[in-house]
Assembly symmetry: C2
């Protein structure tokens, strides 16, 4: 199983994923042109008929038998998990070399039986089914007592960190609350103590009033390019009514959210020519779900530029586009 190690200064935990580790010499740069081609449908472990190529499924919306074809959404543990549900107690408490076992959960959600059907182009009903499954697995991981925070995300395309073309998302339950969420909480708590309000809700309200960075709006959800976007076309999708965790969403609202997510991804797909992207669900840690000072939301990050030395060193991002302009561009007719 993997090991978590803590940076003694930032206090951030790093997952040393030995199960998916490569030997040092395997990191040697490949000669140009020798890249492995991305998976074709035939060899794709996520395509119907190839279910035996993956670990056993833990959930599915399907006809037919478990681990056979007939599903339209399917979930199984990641074959190369960053964290695993085995119980283990070994911890090291030297503050300079603090470590703990990589206990947690790591699952893959296959979003469609079709190898080449991006989320942006799914039928509405299928997009809804996918988000209902996000919700189901979020709730399942949240109920694992070892899990302190749930991170649901998608890597689409090689520059976003995946070589598997078949549309899928991932969900990870971590045994610690990530430090940068703690730091966010210090700010949101202070704001709540000062004003009695959720800073995220106030931010969303201000963006709605400002109007010109909005790229989508429905009764329940709004999407915008934030004033201080860190990268071009960064898009936040947030509920209009306060809820700290995605785990609190109703099935009905989950369907509304699916349409909001699809609308945003589809604008990006059309206007940016199907770029690689990540999206990530930001939710309160499990223990903070009932606190009134965090708003769950999703950030979509098209991978259009490269994070370089300045960003790595300073934590400050250089964004080469104005969010007002990128929002206006997405709002043009395609």
């Amino acid at each position: 199983m993997s090991e978590l190690r803590q940076d003694p200064i930032t206090k951030e935990w790093v997952i040393i994923a030995t199960d998916r580790a490569r030997r040092p010499h395997e990191f040697r740069s490949r000669e140009r042109g020798s890249e492995v081609p991305s998976s074709s449908a035939k060899a794709c472990p996520f395509c119907p008929g190839n279910e035996r190529m993956t670990p056993n499924e833990v959930a599915a919306y399907r006809n037919g038998n478990k681990d056979g074809p007939g599903w339209w959404v399917r979930v199984m543990p990641n074959r190369f998990p960053a964290l695993t549900p085995e119980s283990s107690d070994g911890r090291g408490d030297d503050p300079f070399f603090r470590f703990m076992p990589g206990v947690g959960r790591h699952e893959v959600i296959i979003e469609t039986p079709e190898h080449n059907a991006p989320f942006a182009l799914l039928p509405d009903s299928q997009a809804e089914e996918v988000v209902l499954m996000y919700r189901e697995r979020y709730l399942a991981l949240r109920d694992d007592r070892a899990v302190k925070a749930v991170i649901l995300f998608k890597n689409k395309g090689e520059s976003a960190g995946t070589s598997l073309e078949h549309p899928h998302a991932q969900i990870v339950g971590t045994p610690v609350v990530p430090q940068h969420i703690r730091e966010t909480y210090a700010v949101t708590t202070r704001y709540y103590d000062d004003t009695g309000r959720c800073i995220y809700c106030d931010l969303v309200e201000r963006e709605c009033k400002a109007k010109y960075r909005i790229v989508f709006e429905s009764d329940e959800f709004v999407a915008f390019h934030p004033f201080a976007s860190r990268s071009p076309f960064e898009t936040w999708i947030a509920p209009k009514r306060h809820a700290a965790s995605f785990g609190q969403i109703s099935a009905e609202s989950a369907k509304h959210f699916a349409l909001a997510l699809k609308a945003v991804l589809s604008k990006i797909y059309r206007h940016l020519n199907d770029p690689d992207y990540n999206f990530v669900f930001h939710s309160a840690p499990i223990e903070d779900e009932n606190k009134p000072y965090f708003l769950w939301h999703v950030r979509v990050i098209p991978r259009l530029t490269t994070v370089a030395g300045f960003e790595i060193g300073s934590g400050m991002f250089i964004n080469t586009a104005l969010p007002e302009e990128t929002a206006a561009y997405l709002n043009e007719r395609p």
Copy 2:
């Protein structure tokens, strides 16, 4: 000039670099195979004879006239600067939409007249000259009253964020102290108040004692793969004696440091087949240079893996290699 905007929750400033901005439609993904080839020596603005293709130099080690050939290290303002030295006062203080003008400095340091000579393969004397120029420019930017922190870094290769092949580093003077440095300071200050010691110096001492993550050591410097490395082959180079800022290094020690940096980059070059990488100098903010609780150091980050949704969302990194093993690998004979 560019604009700084503050994220109201993380408090981190983002540089909206309108001078280097692209129009929204220019972000459309290119068709595969249509990538622009990297610069050849003929069209390279950093090659001798092409000095007119760059802004006027601000410093050089050279024979011959300013802005002509004959130099062996040459520095000029970045042609597409993230920050510029113009004075300007416009600030917006609405806490949700805080902004300030992009005042600061942004220079490029050309490290050799030779188009294809990576730092790892420079003659020792040239490596020393390069680091002496790093020091000279660090001190120059530090003396600009608008500058609160100096970030010196290198992007090598496309996946590290540069399309210019000719070896160069960059140096940026920012008008604010980056928030994540402030957060680091909270920890190091607490540690100093508790123990009377610098936490970084203690960390370096502990890594030296542990021994098996060390990849280079000289009288004045040590390099190691930290216990909680965030990515494979991440390497820190640190002085053995306390100094908070690179700006405090003597010319003599700068030469020793040049050899340490070259030794590390050369091990990476040989064992990993010339990978793309970034390095970044971490130094105290100008106002904190005389405080006893920060140790300047350099982090070298080979770009061997891709930061994906999990890292972006959680701030936790998944490292697929053990630092003990990567250090041992770099210590093998090539």
